[in-house]
């Protein structure tokens, strides 16, 4: 006969253990192992793994490829974070005006988001490679006559445009939900007090949708940093590795060059940067939110 206490403990174990086991095997152990790998030297094949001390880390400080990829990623994150939020907020504000076609518009803007990044990248390879030259020939506009994916600057903007097209609808949905939570009487009160459209937006709406802004900035920064699919499928990191995101760079180092331990050091640095930035961003934004 089991006591009540052991039976409760057993129940607890049965309910919690599966989550704990899968978490440990799939996330916890690989994470610790990545840290361990970053201090080791291993080519992925030989049976013995040697120690490397901190040499992987000192090496990557002077690694031109890594630094280039870091620069690209930072530039990409800043550009897409701003554009995504501006475009999404503009779309949400317009849809919030109770347009008749609002539902169909919402669907159209959101639709690209449900398709995976790799498929999106391939679709745009076709748009840029097939449609753009045609537009260029028909209109004579120089911008469409260039082969975008052969120029670093154009490839960068191709990635930015496709990212905005792909995800703006998602950010819009989050802003739209927040805008619907702004009380009508507050806006009316401000209007009676003589506040114009811009003042109402700036002093009433904007402070009230700060939580949505925190979320959207967080998502844009974190998704931007982790971007892989589009770089893989659309530009393949090119031309000349100019659009190789950190995520793609780490993948290529590990799985095409077999630099497992060196890539692990890069992956750990990648984690530290991402964790630091997102924690700071959320902390700063949370403090500025208005309590309702």
């Amino acid at each position: 006969m089991m006591t009540v206490k052991t039976r409760r403990l057993l129940t607890y174990g049965i309910f919690v253990a599966p989550a704990l086991i899968f978490f440990t095997i799939v996330i916890f152990i690989p994470f610790l192992r990545a840290i361990l790998f970053s201090f080791q030297d291993w080519n992925g094949i030989s049976s013995d793994i040697g120690w490397a001390g901190t040499s992987n880390y000192t090496k990557l400080l002077n690694d031109k490829g890594f630094i280039k990829s870091f620069d690209f990623t930072v530039k990409f994150v800043i550009t897409t974070t701003i554009l995504l939020n501006v475009v999404a907020l503009a779309l949400a504000l317009i849809l919030n005006l109770a347009l008749k076609t609002r539902n169909i518009l919402r669907t159209a803007f959101f639709l690209p988001y449900v398709i995976g990044g790799v498929i999106i990248g391939f679709i745009w390879q076709f748009i840029i490679g097939g449609l753009f030259p045609e537009i260029g020939a028909a209109t004579g506009w120089a911008i469409f006559q260039k082969s975008w994916l052969s120029y670093p600057e154009y490839s960068f903007w191709a990635l930015v445009i496709v990212t905005v097209w792909h995800s703006a609808g998602y950010f819009m949905i989050i802003y739209l939900a927040a805008l619907q939570g702004v009380p009508k009487d507050m806006l009316e009160a401000a209007e009676i007090d003589g506040a114009g459209r811009i003042q109402r937006f700036w002093h009433v709406t904007l402070p009230l949708i700060r939580p949505a802004m925190t979320i959207n900035l967080f998502l844009a920064i974190s998704n931007g940093f982790k971007g892989f699919d589009l770089n893989f499928a659309l530009t393949k990191g090119g031309p000349f590795g100019t659009t190789e995101s950190l995520a793609l760079h780490i993948y290529l180092e590990a799985f095409t060059k077999n630099l497992f331990t060196y890539a692990s050091a890069k992956a750990v640095i990648f984690f530290l940067i991402l964790a630091a930035i997102t924690l700071v961003q959320v902390a700063v934004m949370k403090r500025r939110e208005v309590e309702m």
């Binding site: 799939v26 996330i27 192992r33 803007f109």
Partner: protein, 277 residues
């Protein structure tokens, strides 16, 4: 607000927005249309209609990449992975919420904080772990890996939701002689339906569209998922746009149909998931 002036401005705005909406849809439209053309037609003009609507490209692609097979792989992986994540996470969240204490708190916080680790940090040792466990390049293997990766977010969302569910129902059932399993499956689980829908949608979209994990763990052709199979047409030297567009149309069709039918739930789920996450 003065409505007379408004209606004209609104009409203009409406037309502008509709044009923008069409522009948003245009890349998808082009993909579908070009899937029906011959190679020469695609090269001549990407925007023109096909001269004859023919399904030859789709037949070719269907056979070349064994579309039915890869579709089934994607479906099996997504469904079993999501159901497993829902079950494992809701069970754990139930006990972690209802039996508070230091242990529960530590478990919850450790799992939660892993949300900040990017996949790329874990992926290199993960391949080694999967090899050591002999589950690399198998469907059940990748499903087990998804169970692990899906747990943190699902557990977090369930945890928050269960905290707001009153305990009284469970206590009443307990007095009536129900055990913990009965309480969980018959009383609590039905109450969790709204959050279960949210989590199911978020995780289905993620797993269905995921590319990197299948790329590094599924190497055999027979285990390929849809995104992996579609990438065959975008290799270094292939230039068969007509087949590529048919393949992309096939690849996007299932998720578009799913979206059309589930739109309301998807939008609700995504909003709820983002706001709580």
């Amino acid at each position: 607000m003065n409505r007379e002036r408004y209606s004209v401005g609104k009409l203009v705005l409406e037309i502008i927005m509709l044009a923008l909406g069409l522009l948003f849809f245009f890349p998808l439209y082009l993909t579908i249309v070009n899937g029906f053309k011959t190679y020469n037609e695609v090269v001549t003009s990407t925007t023109a209609f096909p001269e004859v609507v023919q399904f030859q490209n789709f037949v070719t692609v269907w056979n070349q990449i064994n579309f039915l097979g890869v579709f089934m792989n994607s479906l099996i992986i997504t469904v079993i992975a999501v159901v497993g994540i829902l079950l494992i996470s809701s069970m754990a969240a139930y006990q972690l919420v209802r039996r508070p204490g230091r242990l529960s708190q530590i478990i919850f916080l450790v799992i939660l904080s892993s949300l900040i680790i990017p996949f790329q940090t874990m992926m290199i040792p993960l391949v080694k772990v999967a090899k050591d466990l002999n589950i690399i390049d198998t469907l059940h293997g990748i499903i087990l890996l998804y169970w692990g990766f899906g747990i943190p977010l699902a557990l977090f969302l369930y945890h928050g939701f269960i905290k707001a569910v009153p305990k009284e129902l469970e206590e009443a059932a307990s007095i009536d002689g129900s055990g913990p399993f009965g309480i969980f499956f018959r009383i609590l689980l039905p109450l969790l339906k709204p959050i279960t829908t949210t989590i199911a949608i978020l995780h289905s979209l993620w797993i269905w569209n995921d590319f990197l994990l299948p790329l590094i763990t599924l190497s055999s052709i027979k285990n390929q998922t849809i995104p992996l199979a579609a990438s065959v047409y975008f290799g270094q030297y292939t230039n068969e746009w007509h087949l590529a567009m048919a393949a992309l149309t096939l690849a996007t069709l299932p998720i578009m149909i799913f979206f059309m039918f589930m739109q309301r739930y998807i939008i609700q789920g995504i909003t709820a998931g983002a706001v709580k996450g």
